[in-house]
């Protein structure tokens, strides 16, 4: 029970945290682009857009920061045995994250918000880029830490305990390199989708047409390559994870037996946890071989042979992750990714015909399309983290051995319910504020004579 509660709590808080992180990274980058456009052109609409989307960014950052605080403490609270065992490796990138990234992001966000009328223009522009750099860097450190749990590298076992002996290996871990690239691209997808959705809503509801057409175009120009790279990097990440965590990929395909060449199951009924033979299956020949190994006739080892191999290697136990979660989160992620790609290409085509601002159907789709990246991101993390089970650190420690042994079930219930209530309330407030400010008018245009006048600072 304690194990389940600890896992539920971590999953709940981490998934919630990752609603806000890609928005921070993506929207932060886009806001920095808008600010740069204003810096270079001095055109008023860029300033108005910077302030408008900057507000949305800040509403979101506030809750991203405080939910991140919980993550930082939770390893010690709920995963004491894990923290003791691997703190010397896993803790290092976390401490670096604080020193190199969080300080940068938080300090410069204050400078950016409150410094509009206090800093020279060029310096003030640098502050938003420092915020963006901070958020991008923090992703690097936490992904290095997470990737180490997926594929431990750069350590030696001393008395049954892993000890870090090569920090560079941790930061050149192939799982990290590809996983981090993917996080950056999905963050751009998420941020751009939000910007597109807000612009589309404004265009549908009589917002300033030339200005919001501009932001819609900017978001589409970022969105198209970002989603394309997300899909390409995601595919390569699948190959990398298939090499180091074959269980994860076999489970994602509900592939119980070894196959060569392997067909990709587009949709199936059955074939999940308690049932190894699907009743209905729609397949594409060779596609799984291609996706999982980059070869037309590549071999994918099935769950059953892997299970017997792991039992021999690590002792008796059940080493197959939850196949149902793996199979469907993989598909939710991939299929929605394709939907986002189609929406963005549609938008690009409308830009070409100069019909972006007037196509009401597209604008409606674009507004609701903002939900998709959040579902994709959550599915992606379920795939990654549930696919690592039953390991907390692949091959080194089982999740059930990682919990804090003396944290009682009562304490866990209190904290699980407490966080659920707190996150539920704050998430709702955040969503309502985001919607409210997305529907506000742009800040008023400035008279032509005022182009060089200082811009007032943001105040709480």
């Amino acid at each position: 029970m304690a194990l389940d509660l600890a896992r539920w709590q971590f999953a709940f808080t981490a998934i919630n945290h990752f609603f806000f992180i890609p928005v921070t990274i993506g929207l932060g980058f886009l806001t920095a682009l808008l600010h740069t456009a204003w810096y270079r052109t001095k055109r008023d609409e860029y300033l108005r857009l910077t302030r408008f989307f900057g507000t949305l960014l800040v509403i979101n950052v506030a809750i991203g920061v405080v939910t991140g605080l919980v993550q930082e403490f939770e390893f010690g609270m709920n995963w004491g045995a894990y923290s003791r065992l691997v703190g010397n490796i896993f803790g290092a990138p976390l401490a670096m994250e604080g020193l190199a990234a969080f300080f940068l992001e938080s300090t410069f966000l204050g400078l950016w918000l409150f410094g509009w009328d206090k800093l020279p223009r060029r310096l003030h522009l640098l502050t938003i880029w420092a915020v963006s750099l901070g958020s991008v860097l923090s992703g690097a450190f936490i992904m290095a830490a997470n990737s180490w749990m997926q594929h431990p590298v750069g350590y030696t076992m001393v008395n049954g305990k892993p000890q870090l002996d090569d920090i560079w290996a941790v930061f050149t871990n192939p799982v990290f390199v590809w996983g981090y690239a993917k996080v950056l691209f999905v963050s751009l997808v998420t941020g751009a989708s939000i910007m597109l959705a807000v612009s589309a809503w404004q265009l549908r509801h009589g917002g300033d047409r030339p200005v919001f057409t501009r932001s819609a175009r900017l978001s589409l120009i970022v969105l198209v390559p970002a989603i394309l790279f997300t899909l390409l990097v995601g595919d390569e990440l699948g190959v990398v994870e298939g090499t180091y965590q074959p269980m994860k990929i076999a489970a994602a395909e509900a592939q119980w037996t070894t196959c060569q060449p392997c067909s990709f199951s587009l949709f199936q009924i059955g074939g999940g946890n308690d049932d190894q033979t699907p009743t209905q299956i729609i397949e594409i020949p060779h596609l799984l071989s291609l996706l999982a190994t980059n070869h037309w006739n590549g071999k994918v080892v099935g769950l059953n042979p892997l299970q017997s191999q792991y039992s021999k290697q690590f002792g008796p136990g059940y080493y197959v992750p939850n196949v149902f979660i793996q199979y469907w989160s993989m598909r939710a992620m991939a299929y929605l990714g394709v939907v986002v790609l189609l929406i963005s290409l549609w938008g690009l085509w409308l830009i070409r015909g100069k019909k972006l601002a007037t196509s009401r159907v597209f604008l409606w789709v674009a507004v609701w399309g903002a939900v998709l990246p959040f579902v994709m991101n959550t599915a992606g993390w379920l795939l990654t983290e549930s696919g690592r089970q039953p390991w907390i650190v692949q091959g080194i420690m089982l999740t059930k051995n990682g919990i804090s042994p003396t944290v009682s079930t009562t304490w866990l219930w209190i904290s699980v319910l407490g966080f659920a209530v707190l996150y539920g309330t704050l998430g709702t407030v955040d969503l309502l504020l985001m919607l409210r400010y997305s529907r506000n008018q742009l800040p008023p245009a400035r008279a032509a004579a005022d182009v060089d006048a200082p811009v007032p600072a943001v105040q709480y």
């Binding site: 010690g76 003791r84 009328d117 000890q163 400035r446």
Partner: protein, 368 residues
């Protein structure tokens, strides 16, 4: 290398309390110092650009414990489990309160976030103080470094008093900070609050320093840091009454730094005392990471901490000017103006439309 990391962690915690200490104090006092909404906004905006960067000191302190002393991190956080949950909850409601309070112009909305800010700012230093005090006083910890007590075992008298003392120091630290950073009636009221709080803080710190000494040492004479905390707080009380704002703030800074540092000096070489058996004490040696990890982290901290200090100092320089209530008496220029024209605040009856408009419109220069 191991003692170096203990010092780094002590420095990070001390830095956190020096900086976030006045943020906590301002959070506790903002409703009292500011009589009305503009006054409260002004009080909050004295720390507006700073508090977030200050709070990162806590994150880094905890992450550094994770990396350098994983056993300490694991035992402290899993042992104080529910207290840590409460710390997180108070930091969360407080953090969003800053950001969300001004986002709607409705009295009830703002009162709610005022309450969240006040409660969070009182609870956070109290509970963090409780956890720090418990490290030194000791908790039931078994031979495998796990906490074996109940929730109520966390409320050791010394731990509770450490929390109370920290709240009192933060109150005075925040009040002197407000004196330094505000003008007019807001400054006068902050001074009044500082004078009200000062005797309690003075008594609290003297008692805390002596209690810390008794808990951690068998010698009669106080350690230099404990003595420094007492002298600094007495100086702070005197300077507050003498209305020397700058010196008073310096004195409260030294008080809070010496108080936190004296806990760590009292601890060393232990990091958590076991009341079950002194042999089960967590020490810097039986919880530390292997040398390679510490070496890597040392390189990182030696490079980055000075850089962080440099840009945070620069931030304080950029925002060195005082904040006045009058800046907020009219509507400040919102980031995004509301769709309807904002109502004229009651303190500013019609009659100065020109000035009102100048502030509302981005053309106007903000007075911060």
């Amino acid at each position: 290398m191991v003692p170096f990391w203990f010092i780094v962690i002590a420095v990070l915690w001390t830095g956190f309390f020096i900086l976030e200490g006045f943020d906590f104090g301002v959070g506790m006092l903002h409703s009292l110092a500011g009589q009305d909404d503009p006054g409260r906004r002004a009080a909050i905006n004295t720390i507006g650009p700073l508090w977030d960067g200050n709070e990162v000191w806590l994150i880094v302190a905890v992450a550094a414990m994770f990396a350098a002393f994983p056993g300490w991190y694991a035992t402290a956080l899993s042992g104080s489990y529910l207290v840590v949950v409460l710390i997180l909850a108070s930091l969360i409601i407080r953090g969003v309160a800053f950001e969300y309070r001004g986002k709607r112009d409705a009295a009830r909305w703002r009162r709610t976030w005022d309450a969240a800010l006040t409660v969070g700012s009182v609870l956070a230093p109290f509970l963090i103080g409780l956890v720090l005090g418990d490290l030194l006083h000791g908790l039931p910890i078994n031979s495998s470094q796990n906490f074996t007590g109940s929730f109520w075992d966390l409320f050791q008298p010394y731990g509770v008093f450490t929390g109370v003392a920290l709240v009192l120091i933060c109150l005075l630290h925040g009040a002197t900070f407000l004196c330094l950073k505000t003008t007019g009636t807001l400054r006068e009221r902050s001074g009044l609050l500082a004078r009200r709080v000062a005797p309690f803080t003075g008594a609290g710190v003297v008692a805390f320093a002596i209690w810390t000494h008794v808990t951690s040492s068998t010698t009669f004479f106080l350690r230099p840091l404990e003595l420094l905390a007492i002298l600094a707080v007495l100086a702070a009380v005197w300077l507050v009454y003498a209305r020397r704002d700058g010196f008073a703030f310096t004195a409260t800074t030294i008080t809070i730094a010496a108080s936190i540092a004296s806990i760590f000096v009292g601890l060393y070489p232990n990091v958590m005392v076991s009341t079950t058996n002194p042999a089960y004490n967590l020490t810097v040696h039986n919880t530390a990471s292997p040398p390679y990890s510490l070496k890597v982290m040392s390189v990182v901290v030696i490079i980055f901490l000075p850089v962080v200090l440099a840009y945070q100092t620069w931030t304080y320089y950029v925002f060195r000017r005082r904040v006045s209530r009058d800046q907020f008496a009219q509507k400040p220029p919102p980031v995004v103006p509301a769709q309807t024209a904002p109502p004229t605040p009651p303190e500013q009856p019609a009659g100065r439309p020109g000035r009102h408009r100048a502030v509302l419109h981005p053309r106007g220069r903000s007075q911060t």
